[in-house]
Subunit: 212 residues, 2 copies
């Protein structure tokens, strides 16, 4: 692993911990025990580091989102997609903690973030359609659009809200709760299977509460 990679890894760690605005180039250099001059040799300040971190995030997220929903033949597979998406967001949570600030500070990222948002929306939509095809869900079109937007909202901000209410919440717990929230949103459209699903969720929730 080269210095360049070390810088990226350290930046990600520090910014996830303390927020993008409170981490300066010097902080990153100190953390790595290198000089600010050295850091500037590799990246011309945060203006180059942030987009480089976004590259990593975008790349991995695109891989996740491109996995075809047709391959997901069970309802459990669908929840697993949510887990993976949320884990990826967790890994780059500094970004989501201050979306507005980061995008106006690094405008180059605006179109790229919007594209990612659209990709997420499309994937959610396709996954729900797949659940309909599998006979798991029955849902009217307008309500489906609403459900998609709500899941997108959960993806984007749920981890933030949990962190605000309890800043020591673990990744595992926060992500689990997000997925649970998504699953529960689907219950009304599961027909008579909804009740069984709901009971299963209650058990799951209980198990998670105890072990967390």
């Amino acid at each position: 692993m080269k210095t360049k990679d070390h810088i990226l890894a350290a930046s990600l760690t520090l910014m996830n911990e303390e927020g993008e605005t409170s981490v300066s180039s010097v902080d990153i250099a100190n953390y790595l025990d290198i000089s600010p001059g050295n850091l500037y040799y590799h990246f011309k300040g945060k203006d180059e580091i942030i987009p480089a971190l976004f590259d990593l995030f975008e790349q991995e997220m695109q891989i996740i989102l491109r996995s075809s929903p047709q391959d997901l033949t069970s309802i459990e597979d669908q929840w697993i997609v949510s887990y993976i998406v949320l884990e990826e967001i967790w890994d780059f949570r500094f970004f989501y903690r201050n979306l507005d600030g980061i995008l106006s500070k690094y405008p180059i990222l605006i179109p790229r973030f919007k594209r990612l948002l659209m990709a997420k929306r499309r994937t959610i939509h396709e996954n729900i359609d797949q659940l309909v095809r599998l006979g798991v869900l029955r849902i009217e079109n307008l309500l489906k659009d609403n459900l998609v937007e709500q899941i997108l909202l959960i993806y984007t901000y749920w981890l933030n809200l949990r962190h605000l209410e309890d800043n020591s919440v673990s990744a595992k717990t926060a992500i689990h709760q997000s997925v649970f929230q998504i699953m529960t949103l689907c219950v009304p459209y599961m027909g008579k299977n909804g009740h069984a699903a709901l009971k299963g969720m209650k058990r799951l929730l209980h198990a998670n509460t105890v072990t967390k």
Copy 2:
């Protein structure tokens, strides 16, 4: 209106427009055509301005949230509460745009914000209970908790998300869409009235899209 009030009003305007982090004490002074020294006579920098703005927000929000849900005897009244809450949040949107950053920069606000969040949660809960009493909604307990959290998420972050996707979106449109999301979330629990409500919403949505 005294200089002190002018400073608060200008701060709010500027920060809603450009974000808290990009507005300095000098910016505020320039905007008002007063000297930085004068500003510092009234407030010892942003460290005193931000909490003062939060005072205003907290005060108005508490009034809104304390209005008893028993007084809301029609379903329309409930949506109006949502409108009022969201308009208040819109007026202080700079705060919600970077919740994490502002709370870690002004930690004094953390317990106060958490209290406000709890108050919102309680009000939402009571309003849904009231809808149940009115016979408008039928909903199982676990699903009700889920619905409450989802509405809280909409209150807290929907305006942000809309702003990210379209930074020129008007207050009216963004707020209207938020309320529409909330209404739609309730449809599955409206029983046979759900379809009628849904049709009404579609008309409403169409009318709004055309006039926006």
